[in-house]
Amino acid sequence: MGLAGYLVVSTLLFGIGAFGFLARRNAILMLICIELMLYGVNLSLVAFNAYLPGGANAGGVFALMIMAVAAAEATVGLALVIAIIRTRQTPEVDEYSDLKE
């Protein structure tokens, strides 16, 4: 499995995450799908770092940084979702339609 194989897997992960984010109705699941998209990018970064020379390990460093940013995003996102669910009593995002005219 060469570089292209890893890139195809990361593309599949990104696409699955994008589909889930667009199609699912549950707010927590939408967050999980954002994580899936971030993993797709992360895997491609690490694969590029392993296969292409001369990057001074930038891929690995940025993969670690993306992990930290994703952790922060998941924390704040879950806190927001829990706060919303507490006030609206439902996790379904298409019930959040108060701003709709």
Partner: protein
Amino acid sequence: MVGGGLAVVTLRNIIHSAIAMMVCFGSLAGMYLLLGAAIIAAAQVLIYLGAISVLILFAIMLTQAGDANIPAPFHRQVWLAAVVALAVMGLIGWAAVTTNWGDNLSAAAIGIQQIATALFTTYALPFEILSLLLLAAIIGAIFLARRPEEDERAN
């Protein structure tokens, strides 16, 4: 791993989705090991399998009202979403497969020492900014998830 990812977006019960997500995380750590990036695989297991999965499972348990009536998992626009996602996938995949990546196609292991040196010399400033971001995230999460009764009691 792709199967795990597909299970995440298609399963009806959200707890099953979360467990499929853990399977996906684990196999992703295995892929990092295949690429020779042991430090990133270790970070993946620690952060995602250890922390984020538990966080997400807790959030699901906190918010689920009981599994008596599980609503329909998808929007009405599910086919539109599938078309868009497939188009994005096809475009990126086509670009990745048809590009000539050069001849030196052998994975080079990423040493822990090189990563650490790069992280604390070349990328020291982003590293510090990242710690600030994490602090802000912690404070924000505590503030958002606090119950409203508590700050009435504090006033």
